[in-house]
């Protein structure tokens, strides 16, 4: 198990009902982590519509997920 800090933005924050949380997960990649959280919180956006950042940098969905990582899920926003 790894423990990561997850932060949600925009519609994800609304659907998750929180802006961040600590998650203990068996997921090895942000892709697997997102699918796990998607099921848990009922997130509607598909992964293809999002970007993930790890420790302040946009990351690949298949990047390794290390203990203590700060993971941010970012949907695009359009309002103006």
């Amino acid at each position: 198990m790894t423990t990561v800090r997850v932060q949600y933005y925009a519609v994800l924050r609304e659907q998750a009902g929180r802006s961040d949380e600590e998650v203990a997960t068996a997921a090895a990649t942000p892709a697997a982590l997102y699918e796990e959280l998607r099921a848990r919180h009922g997130l509607t956006l598909a992964r293809a519509q999002l970007r993930v950042a790890i420790d302040g940098e946009f990351a690949d969905w298949q990047a390794p997920l290390n203990d203590g990582a700060r993971v941010v899920f970012i949907p695009p926003v359009a309002g103006g």
Binding site: A10, L45, A53, F58, I74, P76, V77, G80
Partner: protein
């Protein structure tokens, strides 16, 4: 002969009319404004007009040029009297000649309305009872309730007959940049760079208003405003450049008008149009920096792609409820497609109308955009380059995510911009929805249950909320033709594109949604 002129002699409409004659024109329309013997219940015996000629002629010529561009008329001219006029005298004349009568009437109406509203002309009425007053200055009516600067006459209250013209003579202060010039990073040299800069702002809404205001105030030399929308009352909580009395007027023209009064030194150019790729690419060649203040992904990607293609810098921002995203593009650096490789579709995540927003949120993001533009022009470094800045204004947390240029673009032109292909046409324009049913389309309302119940679609239809339809497209018959509709046409457009990719080639979206059907 200018398109707008003042005359201190009686006007000659016949001569003016002859000057507009053209064998290519089948229609001519004119308007004459006369001195009336009554105003506001008081008998008037004569009046005087005075104008701030230098500014008024520029503004008048702009109005005539706008009318010619908007309505496509061949010739147009407006002449206004100044000085003392007797009852019944011709005070203002507008003439338009065009291929057809429709545009001649419309342009004529536009010119007189805008002249009354925008051109600094003051009217002093002399009443039969010996009293007099300065009245009917629509510029004041449209401005803030307090007496506007540079427009120095008492208003609303009649002034005593002894009041002199001098006391009411308007004067404009000169723009003063001293508060920014004193900064070591600006100085006189920086101010010259600002005065030489040309910035094109796409969108004059919640983000655009602070951008435009700050850039005009800073003395940016040329400021272009692109916006195809008219002002809606629901815009005003976040678009503080406008007034309730402006509702229904094109935002680009309104913004231009306000910015010129904020700083007459700025060359403000209004483009009342929706930014598409070809149109924006040709406009953008005349500018150094593009600022995306639009409210939709389609336009945001168009601004990005044009900036990359032409090698311009751009400042992009967007908001969602309490959050915002900011990205600064430099030639050769990361662009929007480095962050969002698949151009996001409108309708899948909310905009201000659907998701709601507090006014200051786009205000903050727009202010940041203005600041980034000034930094770009002044040559200051910014940590916003090659990064996306995320702001959560609920928690006041800021996060800067590094976004290097995509590996596939390194050392070359952005391959993603080059590869971007225009979406196939999937929208239908229909004034009458029943026509679609008569033509064999099945109409599908994609709004959620609450929206649909509050405002039922005025046509026979199926109701399948967007999320349900996307989750289960097999509810549609791939051989049937469908017309999808929603409130504004964004969700239906996204759904139609997604469904087309899944092989439902008969799916169309109602352009502009139900809102577009309500325009009278």
């Amino acid at each position: 002969m200018g398109a707008f002129a003042f005359s201190d002699r009686p006007l000659d409409p016949d001569r003016e009319r002859e000057a507009l004659a053209d064998p290519a024109c089948g229609g001519y329309a004119s308007f004459e404004g006369w001195v009336r013997d009554f105003n506001d219940g008081r008998p008037v015996k004569r009046l005087e007009y005075e104008a701030y000629a230098e500014l008024a002629i520029k503004e008048g010529e702009r109005i005539v040029a706008e009318a010619r561009a908007r309505f496509g008329v061949a010739h147009a001219r407006c002449v206004h009297r100044v000085g003392p006029l007797a009852l019944g005298e011709l005070a203002v004349w507008v003439g338009v000649s065009a291929a057809h009568r429709g545009e001649a009437f419309a342009a004529c109406r536009y010119i007189i309305d805008e002249v009354k509203h925008r051109v600094p002309i003051w009217k002093k009425e002399h009443y039969l009872d010996g009293d007099s007053g300065w009245v009917n200055c629509e510029r004041c009516a449209a401005a803030a309730p307090e007496a506007p600067q540079g427009h120095g006459h008492d208003h609303g209250t009649r002034v005593a007959a002894t009041a002199s013209v001098e006391r009411h003579a308007p004067h404009l202060a000169r723009p003063d940049y001293s508060r920014q010039v004193v900064l070591p990073e600006v100085g006189e040299a920086g101010q010259r760079r600002l005065s030489a800069a040309r910035v094109l702002v796409v969108g004059a809404g919640g983000l655009g208003v602070p951008v435009l205001g700050y850039l005009a105030g800073a003395g940016i030399g040329t400021l272009g405003v692109v916006d195809g929308d008219t002002l809606d009352a629901s815009n005003l909580h976040r678009q503080t450049l406008y007034a309730l009395a402006d509702v229904g007027r094109p935002k680009a023209l309104l913004a231009a008008e306000r910015l010129r009064s904020l700083n007459p030194e700025v060359d403000v150019r209004a483009y009342v149009e929706r930014a598409d790729r070809a149109g924006l690419a040709s406009l953008a060649t005349g500018y150094d920096v593009l600022v995306d203040c639009s409210d939709n992904f389609t336009t945001r990607f168009v601004v990005n792609d044009v900036a990359v293609e032409l090698g311009k810098s751009a400042v992009l921002a967007s908001v969602y409820q309490y959050e915002g995203q900011l990205q600064v593009l430099r030639p050769g650096g990361a662009c929007l497609r480095c962050v969002w490789p698949e151009a996001t579709q409108d309708g899948l995540v909310g905009n201000c109308a659907e998701a709601g927003v507090l006014g200051p949120v786009p205000g903050v993001l727009g202010s940041l955009q203005a600041l980034e533009v000034l930094k770009l022009v002044l040559g200051l470094t910014t940590p916003a380059e090659d990064a996306v800045v995320l702001l959560d204004l609920g928690t006041l947390e800021t996060r800067r995510i590094r976004a290097p240029r995509a590996a596939c673009c390194a050392g070359r032109a952005c391959v993603r911009v080059g590869a971007a292909t225009p979406e196939p046409e999937v929208e239908l324009d229909l004034a009458v929805l029943d026509e679609a049913v008569a033509d064999g389309y099945v109409v599908v309302d994609l709004r959620d249950a609450r929206e649909a119940a509050a405002d039922p679609a005025p046509v026979r239809h199926l109701h399948i909320p967007l999320a349900e339809l996307l989750a289960e497209p097999s509810r549609l018959d791939s051989k049937q033709r469908y017309l999808l509709l929603c409130a504004r046409g964004q969700r239906s457009l996204a759904a139609a594109r997604t469904l087309r990719r899944s092989g439902f080639m008969g799916v169309w979206s109602l352009r502009g949604g139900l809102a577009a059907r309500r325009v009278t």
